[in-house]
């Protein structure tokens, strides 16, 4: 069930350049089921910023009724968010949407590919896959070394490759450059990140089972306003759609037009 709750900030810190890790505590955590779901944050009680901001769930700790997000402070709202301190509260609407399906067989291999602020939801996903005995590989793309985060955390779960656009860490280039070099074999692909990256993956692995998480500008976040729709892939009529907020944000590769 979707809840609205003023949740308490249990910790908040900058973990890479302009990248913040924010943990919140409250009952709403009980409702969190799947990795890949997101929450819709009201940054301020004032009219600025007016709209909520969608941020993925990066880690769920049911025992502590706590969850963690990782976000980039970039625009007006996320910059305001970054000034909040432990002990303050944030109005959270969530959990929203449908996350990554994780029912897999023990011993299977999963490739997790993340780009930039698409990386965070892969962390909870990876943890849950590993718990089921799935072997995970991470390929994470970032702009530059100073923006890279959670390398140790991912490495402790499975083999982790990194690419940076400027080559300041790992492979110089994009996640696809890593994939071209390494020739990894896997049973299922999971990905979250910028559109061009998702498209490149769809092209590279046309036959594979896989799931991608999409981003769209949102109004309501719950399926009521039709802000976040995308076309279905096989729909000559052009009228069929999925809502990223309530049908997604995770879709099976090939389901929607990206």
């Amino acid at each position: 069930m979707i809840q609205q709750e003023k949740m308490k900030i249990s910790s908040h810190r900058e973990i890479a350049s302009q990248i913040f890790e924010l943990s919140l505590e409250g009952e709403l955590v009980n409702e969190m089921k799947q990795p890949g779901q997101f929450v819709h944050l009201r940054i301020s009680e004032s009219i600025e910023p007016l709209l909520r901001r969608p941020i993925s769930i990066a880690e769920i700790e049911h025992r502590h009724k706590r969850f963690t997000m990782i976000y980039r402070a970039d625009g007006k709202g996320t910059r305001m968010l970054s000034h909040k301190k432990a002990g303050e509260t944030i109005d959270v609407l969530g959990p929203l949407g449908n996350g990554f399906p994780i029912e897999r067989k023990k011993g299977e291999k999963a490739l997790l590919v993340g780009g930039g602020i698409g990386v965070p939801p892969l962390y909870e996903l990876s943890k849950q896959l590993v718990k089921q005995g799935v072997e995970v590989f991470h390929v994470l793309g970032h702009e530059t070394a100073s923006k890279v985060f959670y390398m140790d955390e991912f490495s402790s779960l499975g083999k982790t490759y990194v690419a940076t656009v400027d080559g300041s860490l790992g492979t110089k280039g994009f996640v696809t450059d890593v994939l071209d070099q390494e020739d990894l074999s896997f049973d299922c692909l999971y990905s979250c990140g910028p559109m061009p990256m998702l498209k490149a993956l769809e092209n590279k692995y046309p036959a594979i089972e896989g799931y991608i998480s999409l981003e769209k500008r949102m109004g309501c976040g719950i399926g009521a306003c039709f802000a976040c729709v995308c076309h279905l892939a096989d729909d000559p009529s052009g009228t069929k759609y999925r809502k990223v907020c309530s049908d997604g944000p995770v879709f099976k590769i090939g389901e929607v037009m990206i």
Binding site: L50, C220, A227
Partner: protein
């Protein structure tokens, strides 16, 4: 609760508060949060004859104290609304106001004719003011004669009272209001969104794929209040007011200006419980202001009182 009830053409409202069209879908999503039967009414998403996908995305953008939208009237089309959405809403004890849209007169007439027969549709809201649809739409909302003609034709086929939703993108809102009143409109709803745009500094291009969109939210409240103030003094049909309402105080402004009921749009996105909260808070506000019934507030800003 009898301090809040209000009788409008076709509508016996428990209270004067309802979600605005396009900001509440067909109610399903918000029914997760509270019982929709508490609402005065529900203005459902615009319905067109054919299903519409609407505009490309991004379809929303944020502005100072406001938002822009260019959804483009996405909806499943008349048949699906009649077969799926309206029957689903029958489980709630709430009159529905069906928002009717189209790109030509025949579309409006056909949708009005059929949708007004649905048992829970108690009134139509004629959307002559959607700024996000290219063909023709704009003339319906900005030329009094065109609005008059459309209203008249819809009145002829509708089995329930017809409210006309006015666009604020005009020089003289009173002329528009009078034109549709003369054509037989039973009420007015106002205002729809102001036409606006914002530009992404990084790309240099408009944020909305549609480039322009409709501005809603607190930013437009003074324009809405002013227009309701002007129109309510010049027409004798009731007004359902909307535009930036976020609090009970905001609502009170609309009643004082001349609205008989109010609708809440954008605020639902910020607080999904907003309509419920406002319904709960309104009686206390009446006490604080010393009124016994909501109707005493209507038009108080221009009526003479001692």
């Amino acid at each position: 609760m009898s301090r809040l009830n209000i009788e409008l053409p076709g509508l016996s409202l428990k209270n004067p508060i309802m979600p605005a069209s396009g900001c509440f879908g067909f109610g399903k999503e918000y029914s997760q949060f509270y019982d929709l039967s508490i609402l005065g009414s529900i203005m459902i998403k615009a319905t067109t004859y054919e299903a519409r996908f609407g505009n490309p995305t991004p379809r929303v953008a944020e502005t100072p104290a406001g938002m822009l939208n260019a959804i483009g009237l996405q909806n499943p089309g008349l048949q699906s609304v009649l077969e799926n959405e309206l029957p689903w809403l029958e489980q709630f004890d709430v009159p529905i106001i069906a928002n009717v849209a189209g790109s030509q007169t025949e579309d409006y007439v056909e949708v009005a004719k059929q949708i007004s027969k649905a048992p829970n549709v108690k009134a139509l809201e004629l959307n002559i003011s959607c700024p996000n649809v290219k063909t023709g739409g704009i003339a319906f909302g900005t030329i009094p004669e065109v609005a008059h003609d459309l209203t008249k034709q819809v009145k002829q086929v509708s089995e329930v009272p017809v409210y006309v939703k006015l666009s604020p993108n005009v020089a003289n809102i009173v002329d528009m209001a009078k034109a549709v009143e003369e054509a037989g409109a039973d009420g007015l709803t106002m205002i729809n969104t102001l036409l606006g745009m914002n530009i992404d500094i990084r790309t240099g291009k408009p944020i909305l794929a549609n480039r322009t969109g409709g501005l809603s939210g607190p930013a437009i409240k003074p324009v809405a209040v002013r227009m309701i103030y002007e129109v309510s003094q010049q027409v004798s049909i009731p007004i359902i007011g909307m535009g930036g309402i976020q609090s009970v105080d905001d609502m009170i402004e609309f009643f004082y200006a001349g609205a008989s009921a109010v609708a809440i749009g954008t605020a639902n996105f910020i607080d999904p419980f907003i309509c419920q909260k406002l319904i709960n808070e309104l009686p206390n506000k009446l006490d604080e202001l010393g009124f016994s019934h909501i109707s005493e507030l209507v038009g108080r800003s221009w009526k003479n009182h001692d």
